[in-house]
Symmetry: C2
Subunit: 315 residues, 2 copies
Amino acid sequence: MPMLTMLVLTMRSLFPSVGLRRRTSLLFLLMGAAALPQAANAQTMTAGEAWLKIQHSYAPAPPPDTVDTLKAGDPSTPVTGIATTFLDTMDVLREAASRNENLIISHEPTFYNHRDDTKDFTNDPVYKEKLAFIQQHHMVVYRLHDEIHFSPSGDHILLGLYKALGWQSYPHPAGPFGAYFVTIPPTTLGQLAETLRQQLHIQTMRVEGNPDLPIAHAAVLPGASGLSKQVMALNQPQVDVLLAGEASEWETVEYVRDAVAQGRPKAMILLGHEVSEEPGMEQCAEELRVLFPGVKVDHIVAGQPLWNPEHQPKK
Amino acid sequence: MPMLTMLVLTMRSLFPSVGLRRRTSLLFLLMGAAALPQAANAQTMTAGEAWLKIQHSYAPAPPPDTVDTLKAGDPSTPVTGIATTFLDTMDVLREAASRNENLIISHEPTFYNHRDDTKDFTNDPVYKEKLAFIQQHHMVVYRLHDEIHFSPSGDHILLGLYKALGWQSYPHPAGPFGAYFVTIPPTTLGQLAETLRQQLHIQTMRVEGNPDLPIAHAAVLPGASGLSKQVMALNQPQVDVLLAGEASEWETVEYVRDAVAQGRPKAMILLGHEVSEEPGMEQCAEELRVLFPGVKVDHIVAGQPLWNPEHQPKK
């Protein structure tokens, strides 16, 4: 039995009444303690070694056909510091370089598509400049997507969002996917949207449904989880609103429109992909600090890329 | 040689100096005239017969593996009237039924995914209620997507958007895809975004780039044309801004963010999928009125599904 599975099972039996989040923290604390002797030699740890340790801390083995792979750089590079981020944009890379952090753990793709397939970008000026920057600064980029979402210890991206919202202690239903559903203090769709907009400083929130709809039960699916999962979540009888990062406008958005037009008490709030997942990578930085004591670990915020013409960016 | 190709070629040789739009109008006028004797018997024309005529008016043959197919209803149903729309939402179907229009020509899918694949929706309450409504009202739904975008006479969805913007007479570069690129009066990104927002009554416009960026050359790709086409359009040297319906936030949106961070004079405006393609289906209604004189043809606006919490829908 792989070490982490064993640890998780042990944690479950040792602390059956402790919530997922606290059990996770305890687990990472234990793992951090175990890692202590190595950490003293942080400068001799290579990016590849650090990556393996990060992977194993989230899952015994990566899922088949995972996108959690090396995206750029040489894994034998000694680690000078670690930066986590929603997505390693040019500006995130520059900030990491200025902080002398050369191991980049990015939740979303570096090169503009899910598989980081670069065959269409060989002559692309934006791609070439980004890759050259990574190489010139001896950076190493790994993607941490599947393993942090589907960890046996829970979806840590979801956990980060709950923490950012202050929703960690709100009740979830039982069941394997219970964590994605949460009961919140009664409100209306309009009030919830405005509260979330202010709380998460959202520049381009988009909402669907009747603003007066009473809300008490939310499904929370950070990122772009796609039509099937989004519809499945919405269709749980108790769910009033789906909070998602983004959704295709000809898919889930039109499904919700029809559901509402049929008089069903459903709604959707699109937070923005970055807004919905950035707190999860901040959570990841907290966890990596425990995993690599003595190594500098920062979370670098990618920020929201889009703006609303009514609130133009400051000059 | 198929009739339409012949007609298009004839139109080109007869009117080489006439712009695409006017040539298209002339072509439809001629085709309408040819259809006149049939039109007197509109009540005996079946939905299937009308659909074939619509298809042939846009392209000699549908592209291989097209999504332009029957989505619901019985093609042998006699046509009582035709409704075009961006997407046949529940409310659009209700409005069409109240107007006694039973042939629905929808640009986007009826059942929430590009191929209108319904295998995952067999027990879905929203799908079942929508399908039952179509059947109970003896409606027949066809999708008109590929053939109206890729017609030998031009992209009529693009043409509709240009008309809505008043950009029809602005110059295009030469070349097979020249129509998607347009030179507009010099402005800035911030000014252009605000003008478009007001002009098209956009509820949730999203913009990317420096608001002060000078703009004179736009690429216009209505709908969700995807990463490759959007990046290819942006990379044309003269293009300052891409106007698109929607784009995945982990794809084109991040490409533009990096391009801007690298100091490239590029920007993107996401109009919303519906906003970008509704005028094209209004254009389609105009064309079908010429094709089917004596038959009632309406354009029914699907409307924007999403709203901004700062401007909540009126109660």
